[in-house]
């Protein structure tokens, strides 16, 4: 991240959002809204004094996954790039109650600016890579896991905070009561491979659950029960890791964790079926870690329509071809990187992102854009200039020429032919799918089927 922040060829726009996109491959205009941070980026040195003195503490539901607090003026996490804080205006005392201004008083260079407004930046770019990542599925949607009923039922990301040296317990694995757990259950496929939630495999959970099992064994020596349908250790050296964790004494139970109950004593009871033995199984534990599903970002549909990108049935962005064009989209010049396209672990994300970067380099190196010959063509003699084709085009590829007649930009046209069907004067034809060709097909098929 630091390298990207320092790179001469990379301009980072953080705390920013894309407002609109127009143009086409090689010539996009992207309007970006830079949200007001209330801190002047040009002079802030990132000393952190404001953060230290800010009196308002807020539960950090993003980086700390609800297990820690941050201030109302904060950086998202320690290594955030750029190293410049932002004021959370919904919680800041000055913005909510009109008093405080402590950060302004302590800032040694006067970088705090409460009056800052959102700014707009227009970028002219040749290609776009979407890398918006994934979201975590909310386990309260399936009540059998009792998530939220006990502080000792954690999601995988919460356990990550618990075991992290910078987390709320400085890396000690402790229950909410502050004790080391004696028994821990890990449940795979919570919300994944489940027709009541997501039917797909979230791909990353098996491996991080193995890591969690290892960490619990290593740090606490507790008994670990790992409930799974199967362990998908698919990558290089992954299965070896699985074997190592087995040798560390983790109890692997082949059977999905069916239910978690909170007992009056505060202990947790996990019910499952041990499919190897063919009988139900119950264990009592002090801590449950749910390997929750990953899913598309909640604003994926907004992003999809902004950039003209499709989505697959699972909600992730659609690649141009599932095997042969995994980083391209159906909009020329727009590429996908990482888990916005499908659930991915770090290794796969790096490979996918490198591929996306190479696709952009390849596009730019060529210096020319290869367009499909399957485009619509206007017969200017027949065009009456009614303009009916202009609003139906999903790519805004049609405009009016100086003579008032329709003109198609073949770079933008993707050849769907919607304008052909809309043209009342029959003045448009879709190359490779002309009226003549389709009529010949229809007539030929019907004649042959007699």
């Amino acid at each position: 991240m630091m390298d990207a922040g320092r790179h001469r060829g990379i301009k980072l726009l953080t705390y920013s959002e894309v407002e609109s996109v127009s143009g086409y491959v090689g010539n996009f205009t992207v309007r970006v809204r830079k949200h007001a941070r209330s801190v002047r980026e040009d002079i802030c040195t990132g000393c952190g004094m404001c953060q230290e003195k800010c009196p308002t503490k807020v539960i950090d539901s993003v980086y700390e996954a609800g297990m820690g607090r941050r201030k109302a003026i904060y950086r998202p996490f320690g290594q955030a790039v750029p190293n410049i804080p932002v004021i959370d205006r919904d919680n800041c005392l000055y913005f909510t109650k009109g008093r405080c201004k402590v950060c302004q008083k302590v800032c040694p260079i006067g970088a705090i600016d409460y009056e800052q407004q959102d700014e707009f930046v227009d970028l002219n770019v040749g290609a776009i890579v979407i890398a918006t990542g994934l979201a975590l599925w909310d386990p309260t949607k399936l009540p059998q896991y009792s998530y939220g009923l006990s502080p000792n039922i954690l999601t995988g990301i919460q356990f990550e905070r618990l075991t992290s040296a910078s987390g709320p317990t400085s890396g000690k694995i402790l229950t909410a009561e502050g004790r080391q757990p004696k028994d821990v259950a890990i449940l795979h496929c919570v919300g994944s491979r489940d027709e009541h939630a997501h039917t797909y495999c979230s791909r990353i959970c098996c491996m991080y659950s193995l890591k969690h099992a290892h960490q619990v064994r290593d740090k606490t020596g507790a008994n670990v029960y790992d409930f799974h349908m199967d362990v998908r250790a698919f990558g290089k050296a992954y299965d070896e890791y699985y074997q190592r964790v087995q040798e560390e004494g983790v109890t692997f139970v082949r059977g999905r964790g069916a239910e978690v109950q909170v007992l009056p004593s505060g202990r947790l009871r996990v019910k499952a079926e041990d499919t190897d033995l063919g009988r139900p199984l119950t264990v009592e534990v002090d801590m449950v870690i749910l390997a929750t599903a990953v899913e598309a970002q909640p604003d994926a549909s907004k992003i999809a329509s902004l950039f003209g990108v499709g989505r697959t049935a699972d909600g992730f962005f659609a690649e141009a071809h599932p095997k042969l064009r995994p980083v391209e989209t159906n909009t020329a010049g727009v590429f996908l990187a990482g888990s916005c396209q499908a659930p991915r672990d770090v290794l796969d994300t790096v490979a996918h992102a490198s591929a996306a970067a190479m696709e952009v380099v390849r596009l730019f190196n060529r210096g020319k854009v290869i367009v499909s010959p399957t485009v619509a063509r206007i017969n200017a003699e027949d065009c009456v200039g009614c303009g009916d084709c202009i609003p139906v085009c999903p790519y805004s590829a049609i405009s009016r020429g100086s003579d008032g007649k329709a003109v198609i930009n073949p770079t933008l046209c993707q050849g769907c032919g919607t304008c052909v069907a809309a043209c009342p004067a029959n003045a448009i034809d879709a190359l490779h799918f002309t009226n003549e060709e389709l009529v010949a097909q229809v007539d030929g098929l019907l004649a042959a089927a007699l």
Binding site: T374, P394, C416, G417, T418, F433, L438, V439, V442, L445
Partner: protein, 149 residues
């Protein structure tokens, strides 16, 4: 009825306009999976269901089709974002026109099949073929209408 009574079961001819990205791929998938779908459904590939002009549908009926089925992407899944929205708006208007000229509007079908829905493709085409089979030949219907009116 009459053709069945004559001993040769009526086998309709149905033109199915399949969009390149969803339903055509779904049909392909049905073939790969060796699913059974009716042979009387004759596929014509178009880039988008939005390409299917009313003239093309009418042309198919004029050339002897007993039914026309348009299979589009599911709403929200259109490769071209909004092509299938146009189709969804066009089809009811076209059905009105069909009944005006004496063709049972049921003979024009619109359904949605994604590229992953091979089973659904087989099911939708089978059901549509069954419906057209029960409606009988178009020539008979148009004949009746003109005889009656």
């Amino acid at each position: 009825m009459s053709s069945a009574a004559e001993g040769t079961a009526f086998e309709p001819r149905i033109i199915a306009f399949l969009c390149n990205w969803c339903s055509y791929a779904g049909a392909d998938g049905a073939g790969i999976a060796r699913l059974e779908s009716p042979a009387c459904v004759l596929p014509v590939r178009v880039m988008c269901s939005g390409r299917v002009s009313p003239e093309m549908v009418l042309r198919a009926f004029r050339s002897g089709a007993d039914g026309v089925l348009i299979l589009a992407c599911h709403i929200g899944d259109c490769h071209y974002n909004s092509g299938n929205h146009r189709t969804v708006k066009r089809v009811p208007l076209l059905r009105n026109l069909l009944s005006y000229v004496g063709i049972n509007p049921e003979r024009l079908g619109l359904d949605f099949v994604s590229s992953a829905e091979a089973t659904r493709f087989a099911q939708v085409t089978t059901e549509f073929a069954e419906k057209i089979r029960s409606l009988g030949p178009l020539s008979q219907e148009v004949g009746e209408a003109s005889a009656g009116g």
